[in-house]
């Protein structure tokens, strides 16, 4: 019941706004914000009541829906989806607050789209029925389509249509995969009863993987992303980078790895190079971007490459790092997009050359920007470091894949520092242009928008244990399933212990670093 409330409360907000839109702009914004915050507060109940000692799904609700076809309304979360649910409910009210004054036309439609999108995304993370999953996966496209298409930039129509078509092309194949699984699952769409080996498992793996790879986006399916990001309104970009991309990586960890371990093993040599190419390519392209938003967009390609790399290391450290990095990326890239949006609202330009010396004029902005930048680079002490380190650690372990890839991926970390710091330097330092002298610093609302994100950026960086604790068992289960393949032949014993080990080693590493400092 609690979980259903979290999922559908935003939808209730949509209806409320539709009915009360006549009350004026502030009422619409008020309703949206209250619903957003309420959803987050209720979703915190999911965290506190979550039992970290078991890998099974919790908060399960199962109601018969279309019984003739073996479809039920079956939802529940485990330690992996818990974090994505919380990330979604956390970012949505922030987005509503961030869009407070920036929506000029159709405010009610904007807020309705945002809340409907929240329901769609939450549904994707909570569905335990393949049909339900697909319904949420597809229906979430429509509000996003409107968000980019109506409130976006100049080339918004091109960007939004491209976004929808790419995703639909991927999901068309996934639908075929889902249907094929149905007949091998005793005529049921229930995810929890899926087990064993499947016929044509390699094709099924690909059907799912391509849909997710487009969403992630993995190189070479990434071309929709820069367009969508650049044209989307600020809030659209935050949701897109923060949550939507994670639907792809979530899909991989929920479907591709545990359901088709053999196929996952077989395609690892193909996917890992693509992930590494994405890391390097995204970083290199980000480096030469003149547009701040595009730079952040390409940095997403690079960061998500790390996540995929960690997922296909198929060991506890790598997977935990990937899940953590999904949250980290949502926070740090979300923060960067918000900051770029704030400067754009003031200056109506996102070109790096138009700025310089802003730190003198806008110290608060510069400070927050610096923290978000360092988080994105992966500076020790902030969240990005923990995630990236665990991913690289997991990838370096025996039996993951060739270390050459890891070496290249590590180079990506350095490149990230290059493009992010170079950008920071050009925007914040140097001489202040005359046109920028009148730019006001962040106001109270904008600081309130940024503070919660900064809090978590530091928290995860300093003390990631509560985050890792809750996901440990669930990740361990995925690892067991993916390594239980005869082809692997190197089943690790005592997986939870291994997880603890990974955690301990990382903390050891961290304390050493801190000692050095």
């Amino acid at each position: 019941m609690l979980l259903s409330t979290v999922i559908f409360l935003p939808l209730l907000g949509v209806i409320a706004i539709a009915l009360l839109r006549g009350l004026g702009a502030s009422a619409i914004k008020g309703i949206a914000l209250v619903i957003g915050i309420l959803t987050f507060v209720i979703s915190l109940g999911l965290y506190t009541g979550f039992n970290a000692d078991t890998a099974t799904f919790q908060y399960i609700t199962q109601e018969s829906w279309i019984s003739d076809l073996g479809i039920s309304y079956h939802i529940g979360i485990d330690g992996i989806s818990l974090w994505l649910v919380l990330l979604t409910t956390f970012l949505t009210p922030i987005c509503i607050l961030a869009a407070w004054n920036s929506v000029e036309k159709g405010l009610s439609g904007f807020m309705m789209s945002l809340l409907a999108l929240e329901t769609g995304m939450l549904g994707v993370f909570c569905s335990l029925d393949l049909f339900l999953f697909f319904v949420f996966w597809e229906s979430m496209l429509i509000p996003m389509y409107f968000l980019i298409g109506i409130w976006g930039g100049e080339r918004r129509i091109y960007a939004t249509v491209k976004f929808v078509l790419y995703t639909m092309a991927g999901s068309a194949l996934m639908l075929v995969g889902i249907l094929a699984l149905y007949f091998q699952n005793d005529n049921s769409f229930d995810l929890t009863t899926l087990s064993g080996t499947f016929d044509h498992s390699e094709l099924l793996f690909l059907a799912f993987f391509i849909a997710f790879a487009i969403k992630v986006p993995l190189f070479p399916f990434h071309t929709w992303l820069p367009d969508a990001h650049v044209e989307a309104p600020t809030v659209g970009s935050v949701i897109l980078a923060g949550v939507l991309l994670k639907m792809g990586t979530y899909g991989i960890i929920r479907f591709c790895l545990p359901l088709f371990p053999d196929a996952a093993e077989k395609f690892t040599p193909l996917i890992v190079p693509l992930a590494v190419i994405g890391i390097i390519y995204g970083a290199l392209v980000a480096m030469v971007q003149p547009d701040l938003k595009k730079l952040v967009a390409y940095s997403s390609v690079s960061h998500l490459g790390f996540v995929v790399l960690g997922l296909f290391s198929k060991n506890p450290a790598g997977l935990q790092g990937s899940v953590l990095q999904m949250i980290n990326h949502g926070l740090s890239t979300g923060a960067l997009f918000l900051l770029v949006g704030m400067i754009y609202e003031r200056r109506h330009s996102r070109m790096i050359v138009d700025f310089g010396g802003l730190s003198k004029r806008m110290p608060i902005f510069a400070t927050i920007f610096a923290i978000a930048t360092f988080s994105s680079i992966g500076l020790p002490g902030l969240n990005g470091f923990v995630g990236e380190f665990m991913i690289l650690f997991g990838s370096f372990k025996e039996g993951a894949f060739s270390k050459v890839y890891v070496v290249f991926a590590t180079a990506g970390v350095i490149l990230a520092a290059v493009y992010m710091l170079w950008m920071f330097q050009r925007v914040m330092f140097g001489t202040l242009d005359k046109t920028n002298e009148g730019l006001p610093d962040l106001n109270a609302r904008e600081i309130v928008v940024m503070l919660p994100i900064l809090l978590f950026i530091v928290w995860i960086g300093v003390y990631p244990k509560p985050f890792l604790n809750k996901m440990e068992k669930s990740v361990g289960l995925v690892v067991t399933k993916v390594q239980a393949t005869p082809a692997m032949g190197q089943l690790e014993k005592g997986v939870p212990a291994g997880t603890k080990l990974a955690l301990r080693e990382i903390q050891h590493e961290k304390s050493e670093k801190e000692a050095e400092q």
Partner: protein
């Protein structure tokens, strides 16, 4: 020997025939407003619909007139499809005709006559009865397509439809003749028996393929689809909606009945052809629809593509090869899709009619720019229908497509489903383009739209509520559809 007639079994058809006569008589009185005739049509169709639903729930499997006329859940379910289409089309027609001094009486008469023809086709258990129904329906439609005599496009559409339709009927009749030659009978069950006993003679196969061609013309399957865009564009928009819905369903009803019941032993021969035709129809329909700038032509190509999706269901039933569950699922998915398709397609055409200016209809997609803010209700109706046609959840279109694809996977037609799924993505492009135009583009010139007609809005509300309700609670019609397999 006197014929024993169980009148109860013929109730839906009788109600429609009676309504037809009443409309005919009342049309003679000039003092009666012609809108009343429209309401009579709606009431008559609604009674027939209610009777059909009651009979469907009771469950029937009986024949009349020496086995020529079959009343079973299959034909009753199709009655529901036809009558829903007729009611919706009449609702969207009333304000459309109420302009100038057009004669309205014959319009409703012809609609009812066509409906009766469709009901005959679905119930025909004998090739001659099917042909009779087909002709009754087609002749009415030829007249209706050319109903706006003063409009050259409408006359052209009527003429074109008549010529090509006559060709199709000839093919169909020739097919019947050859099958009669091979088996010595025109009764559906007897043909099936005769084929078990006999060899698959070339005569029989030729007859079967001629039937495919005849049906192919009627339901607009590629490569027999060329008439559709021209007829849809020229015919009155309400009639385009009508032709795209009920008659297509009727064609598929007879198609299913004849091929699944009379020619099941030739499945090996025809199911492969249907798979190929389905792929061709979906792809050609969707790809050409992308290039259209006129919304009626776009909807015409989209309805061709949707015939392709229905064919997936037929192909799945045909390719089931002894797997009873897969066969039944193929049939029920096709009829379910037809019901959903009729509602959403009439809804889409209704939204086109709603976008009327003083000089006529706005048929160019570019005319729809800015409707999202200027005519929110119209834009909302149009968006719901188009998203449903594109197959987005939570609309009925998604449920229909999902079930069709599922039945095809059940018959292991993986390639066909992949082609179908990719086509869904292609189709999203042109459906969404209309939505883009309405919500995301600014109008180039300010068009003065006519005020909404209440009957039209009622029709659209019914369609929209139906599309969303079925999308969220598919069991409402899924279970009846599954109970309608013969």
């Amino acid at each position: 020997m006197p014929i024993e007639i169980n009148w109860q079994l013929l109730m839906p058809e009788l109600v429609i025939a009676l309504t037809l006569l009443i409309v005919l008589v009342f049309d003679l009185f000039d003092s009666i407003s012609k809108t009343v005739l429209g309401w009579m049509t709606i009431v008559g169709a609604a009674i027939a619909l209610w009777v059909s639903i009651q009979m469907h729930q009771a469950g029937f499997d009986d024949t009349q007139f020496y086995g020529m006329f079959k009343v079973d859940n299959f034909s009753l379910f199709f009655n529901i499809i036809f009558l829903v289409s007729t009611i919706l089309v009449t609702l969207i027609s009333m304000s459309y005709l109420d302009r100038g001094d057009r004669k309205q009486g014959p319009y409703y008469l012809l609609i009812l006559l066509a409906t009766l023809g469709m009901m005959l086709m679905a119930a025909g258990n004998e090739l001659i009865i099917v042909f009779l129904g087909l002709e009754l329906m087609s002749l009415s439609l030829y007249v209706l397509a050319g109903y706006f005599r003063e409009n050259p496009a409408s006359s052209e559409a009527g003429m074109k439809y008549l010529l090509l339709g006559a060709f199709a009927s000839a093919f169909f009749l020739y097919g019947i003749a050859l099958i009669y030659g091979a088996t010595g009978t025109t009764s559906v069950p007897e043909i099936a028996q005769a084929i078990i006993a006999e060899d698959k003679s070339p005569l029989l196969l030729a007859g079967m393929f001629l039937l495919v061609v005849g049906f192919g013309f009627k339901v607009a399957i590629v490569p027999f689809h060329q008439w559709a865009p021209d007829v849809y564009e020229g015919a009155p928009t309400t009639i385009a909606a009508f032709i795209s819905a009920g008659p297509k369903a009727a064609g598929f009803a007879a198609f299913l009945r004849i091929f699944m019941e009379a020619l099941p032993n030739l499945q090996g021969e025809w199911s492969g052809v249907l798979i190929l035709l389905a792929m061709l129809t979906m792809t050609v329909g969707n790809v050409i629809a992308i290039a259209q700038t006129n919304i009626k032509r776009m909807l015409a190509y989209s309805s061709i593509a949707h015939a392709g999706y229905v064919l997936i269901g037929l192909a799945a039933a045909g390719a089931a090869a002894g797997n009873e569950a897969a066969r039944d699922e193929g049939i029920s998915s096709a009829i379910l899709y037809l019901l959903i398709y009729c509602v959403m397609n009439i809804g889409a055409f209704g939204a086109v009619i709603l976008a009327r200016t003083e000089d006529g209809e706005s048929l160019m997609i570019s005319d729809y720019a800015g409707l999202g803010t200027r005519k929110p209700l119209l834009a909302m109706f149009m968006s719901v229908m188009l998203l449903s046609l594109a197959g987005f959840p939570p609309t009925a279109g998604f449920v229909g497509k999902f079930y069709i694809f599922k039945s095809a996977i059940g018959s292991e037609l993986y390639l066909l489903v992949i082609v179908g799924a990719i086509n869904t993505a292609i189709s999203a492009f042109y459906y969404l383009r209309v939505v883009v135009t309405m919500y995301m583009r600014e109008p180039e010139e300010e068009l003065e739209f006519s005020p909404y007609a209440s009957t039209l809005v009622v029709g659209l509300i019914i369609a929209a509520v139906g599309v969303l309700l079925i999308g969220i609670l598919p069991s409402l019609i899924l279970t009846p559809a599954q109970n309608s397999v013969f």
